[in-house]
């Protein structure tokens, strides 16, 4: 096992805050368009 191998399995965790941010921004955009 290489030094940084442990990070591979949790790659999606580091993208999680960005997924939440994308959901919040998309919600703001849709509300602004249709409210």
């Amino acid at each position: 096992m290489k030094k940084n191998d442990y990070k591979k399995g949790f790659g999606f965790l580091s993208a999680l805050p960005y997924a939440l941010l994308a959901i919040v921004l998309a919600a703001v955009a849709v509300i602004a368009m249709h409210a």
């Binding site: 960005y18 959901i23 921004l25 998309a26 955009a29 602004a32 368009m33 249709h34």
Partner: protein, 265 residues
């Protein structure tokens, strides 16, 4: 302010199916853009992205502009990211497409003895050229070099040997100025012209050969080994990054990664 809350509650009171579709599409586009910016260390643009979306949303909300105005303004920003990061997007696409090529490649993958011989021959040639200040650029490709680049050189299709590599890069011979493409256990072509890196922060002492060696790795998932003609320093480039002063150990690791598909550190 009263109108603001009334409009929001009216929206949630009568949600339209089209809003759900729009929401999913926008959220996926935003996530792909933000994740791409994160991977390319563009955190400042992430902040700008957040600010831009909030400002555009507020403007559209309070000015009662039609929905397509906001969609258009958001699309402009995503397009700006595509233009700004054209090279990085190209590299991501190549990396994805080369994964399927790797599977094909492993069908005729070098077995242990063949690969060990090739590794030893390449290291011997590179170190000899370094000692004699002979410039060289060797591309370790996984069958993913575009034919446009191969066509600029001469097809060699020969077994790898240190004598042949040194002969090709010997000064004043017709093929010495271009790049050698190694595919699996064979020298596929020599004298090939490569796209140059447009990176402005490269040290001034790096010449065209180094720029070419880095340039090809910016867009295609390959590794370059470069020997400087002036100093004899050996460098290794991968993913647009250059590692200078490569010793035998680094060369051996690079070649092992190439032949046995281990991931580069």
């Amino acid at each position: 302010m009263k109108g603001f809350f009334e409009r929001i509650s009216a929206f949630f009171g009568n949600p339209e199916p089209v809003c759900a579709v729009e929401f999913v599409l926008i959220a996926v586009t935003f996530f792909l853009s933000l994740n791409f910016l994160r991977k390319n260390n563009a955190k400042l643009i992430v902040w700008f992205f957040i600010l831009y979306t909030l400002v555009v949303s507020a403007l559209v909300f309070f000015s009662d502009a039609p929905a397509y105005v906001e969609l258009f303004l958001l699309a402009v920003f995503v397009l700006a990211i595509v233009v700004m990061f054209a090279t990085e997007i190209k590299r991501a696409v190549w990396e994805r497409s080369s994964k399927t090529l790797d599977v094909k490649h492993s069908d005729h993958d070098a077995d242990g003895d063949d690969a060990k011989t090739c590794i030893n021959e390449i290291i011997k040639a590179v170190q000899s050229m370094s000692k004699n200040n002979v410039g060289a650029i060797i591309i370790l490709a996984n069958s993913n070099i575009p034919s446009g680049i191969l066509d600029t050189g001469i097809s060699v299709n020969s077994q790898i040997s240190s004598e042949l590599i040194e002969s090709i890069f010997f000064p004043k011979t017709p093929l010495h100025d271009g790049a050698m493409i190694i595919n699996d256990t064979r020298i596929q072509a020599a004298g090939c012209f490569l796209p140059l890196s447009q990176e402005i922060n490269l040290p001034k002492e790096l010449g065209t050969r180094h720029r070419a060696g880095i340039g090809i790795t910016e867009t295609i998932n390959v590794t370059s080994i470069i020997v400087s003609e002036e100093t004899g320093v050996i460098s290794v480039a991968h993913g647009g990054k250059l590692k200078r002063y490569a010793d035998t150990e680094m060369l051996r690791n690079t070649l092992r990664n190439f032949y046995w598909k281990e991931k580069l550190n």
